[in-house]
Amino acid sequence: MTTIHHTRVQRATLSSRIAMSIGIVALVALVAMPWWATSGNIRWAIELCCYIAIAQMWNLLAGYAGLVSVGQQAFIGVAGYMLFVLAQNFGVNPFVAVILSMIAPAVLAVPTYFLLRRLDGPYFAIGTWVVAEAVRLATSNIDYVNAGAGMTLRVMTQYSQHEREVAFVILCAILLLVTIGGSYWLLRSRHGLALTAMRDNPVAAASQGVNVGKLRFYIFVAAAVGTGFAGAIYYMAQLRITPSAGFDPFWASMAIFIVMVGGIGSIEGAIIGALIYFFADRLFGEFGSAYLIVLGLLTLIIALYARGGVWGLLQKLGDHPWFPVRRKLIVEDIS
């Protein structure tokens, strides 16, 4: 007597369906913000979206591709500057320019990767920092972009506040779709399997036929573009950019803090970490350096004792992924 096994691959879980519904509601609420929220709250929402996106991109780099970068501010700055130059000096519509400005980080990321890939793990990290510093110093010496004094986005005055807010929330929604949605899509695809294998052991992954070098290159460029997009939106909302702000190493510190506290190597971790950082910044930001000492020590303690971060601790309580990337084989007996 033979039994016929009917098998199927299950990916969604109850928790993921709930998370997806909450995600869609949150996205709709975000886009509707100009009609229900105050301008101050919208500014906060823009900031939070940028934090989530930048952290998610860093998570993809460090958590999956094994490329620890402390120079992501290079991509934030160049994208911001390209936006300002296009909109202010060339008269391009700023909302078109913000999309076009994703070209700059991509163009910078390609030579950066080929130069730095020769460096060993920890040296790669400081190498990215040197590139960011070099770009910052170069920018401070270029009179065309007003050198160290920075640029102001005066063209934004031709739009009413409401128009601007509507455009910003739509851009933020796209940003989240591209960075979180894109990461989720990537991790669920064939490349996601390769990336997860690389995260766990790059040498073993290579022996299984994963082209580690090529995949790392693609991830590096993609993360640069995503980070740059967030940077362009952020400085568009700020209406002002200077070399010391746009290329501030604090951007890297922030991404590292968010991902480490939230939980590295998971999409959920970056979101949790960004929320924690955002509210901590609102509550304790006024304490200045004392607050930053705590942030630094927290990062240190997590690296030493709890590498999984908050998401890692939650996982120990029960397996309820928001963005499941695993495949589960369900065998149903039909006799």
Partner: protein, 286 residues
């Protein structure tokens, strides 16, 4: 003549950078760890030295005798409580841990010493200079360079000829195999870090004598040390020394071209070396 002067001043500046770079080369060579807080630890030692000099009449030599042991102790603590837990094949934990430490240290120093720039009280050495041909040389920078030279030579000799040096090279090549032949990697690591931070203690005093220090200066020092190590060639202490000279000269020449370009020139030379000779200028042929 202006360019010869720039090159000479660059070499002297390189002496300072060599003192930052030696410790980093040593630690990376042995443990495959880069301590992101490297520069911040140096600044911390400088600020402690400045504060001590304000309270106790130690003189510069006395200050060295007090600060270097403090530095060695600090290195030992760093190794014992942080680095020993993150040594491993994966670079991420050590990077993140020392990155967190760097942010915490920088802001701690900001709380204690505020953002003001400080330096050690002006002494005779700091302002003395002498003339060779048409070029004026500061006495202090020359002493710094000579110290860097002796430290490099001494460290190289220790690595080559002593029991500790052999153990260290063995641990660097293959930790497990070294452990099997009776080398205690933990002890080697602790000694290496203590030496590295001890050298920083000396560098800290020179830095505070030569110019000013402020709590946020650490990351720049880290980057210079790192660039020197890469330019010279990883895994060689003389490489770190030569790399420091190249970096110093690049910065001094850039500075002569335009005051805003000095540091940028250093970065560009670093990127150029990375593009054309990634194994560094002093690396042995394989």
């Amino acid at each position: 003549m202006q360019w010869l002067d720039a090159i000479v001043q660059g070499v002297l500046l390189g002496g300072m950078y060599a003192q930052y770079a030696l410790g980093m080369a040593l630690m990376f060579g042995v443990m495959r760890i880069v301590n992101i807080a490297h520069g911040d630890v140096m600044i911390l030692l400088s600020l402690i030295a400045v504060s001590l000099a304000g309270v106790l009449p130690l003189g510069n030599v006395g200050l060295v005798l007090v600060i270097v042991p403090i530095a060695v102790g600090l290195g030992w603590l760093l190794q014992k409580f942080i680095l020993n837990r993150v040594v491993g094949a994966d670079p991420l934990p050590s990077l993140i841990a020392t990155f967190g430490l760097s942010i915490a240290l920088q802001n701690l120093m900001l709380e204690i010493w505020s953002a003001d720039t400080r330096s050690l009280p002006n002494s005779d050495i700091a302002s003395a200079s002498f003339q060779i041909g048409p070029i004026y040389l500061g006495l202090l920078p020359v002493i710094v360079l000579l110290c860097a030279f002796c430290l490099t030579g001494g460290l190289d000799a220790v690595l080559r000829y002593t029991r500790f040096g052999r153990g260290l090279r063995a641990a660097a090549a293959d930790t497990e195999a070294a452990a099997m032949t009776g080398v205690d990697p933990k002890r080697i690591y602790a000694t290496a870090t203590a030496i590295a931070v001890g050298i920083l203690g000396l560098a800290a005093i020179f830095a505070a004598l030569r110019a000013t220090v402020s709590p946020s200066d650490g990351s720049a020092q880290l980057i210079y040390a790192f660039e020197a190590v890469i330019i010279g060639g990883m895994g060689s202490v003389w490489g770190a020394f030569i790399g420091s000279m190249v970096l110093g000269v690049a910065q001094a020449v850039g500075l002569r071209i335009d005051p805003g370009l000095g540091i940028l020139f250093g970065h560009l030379v670093f990127l150029l070396v990375l593009a054309t000779r990634p194994e560094g200028i002093m690396a042995r042929k394989k």
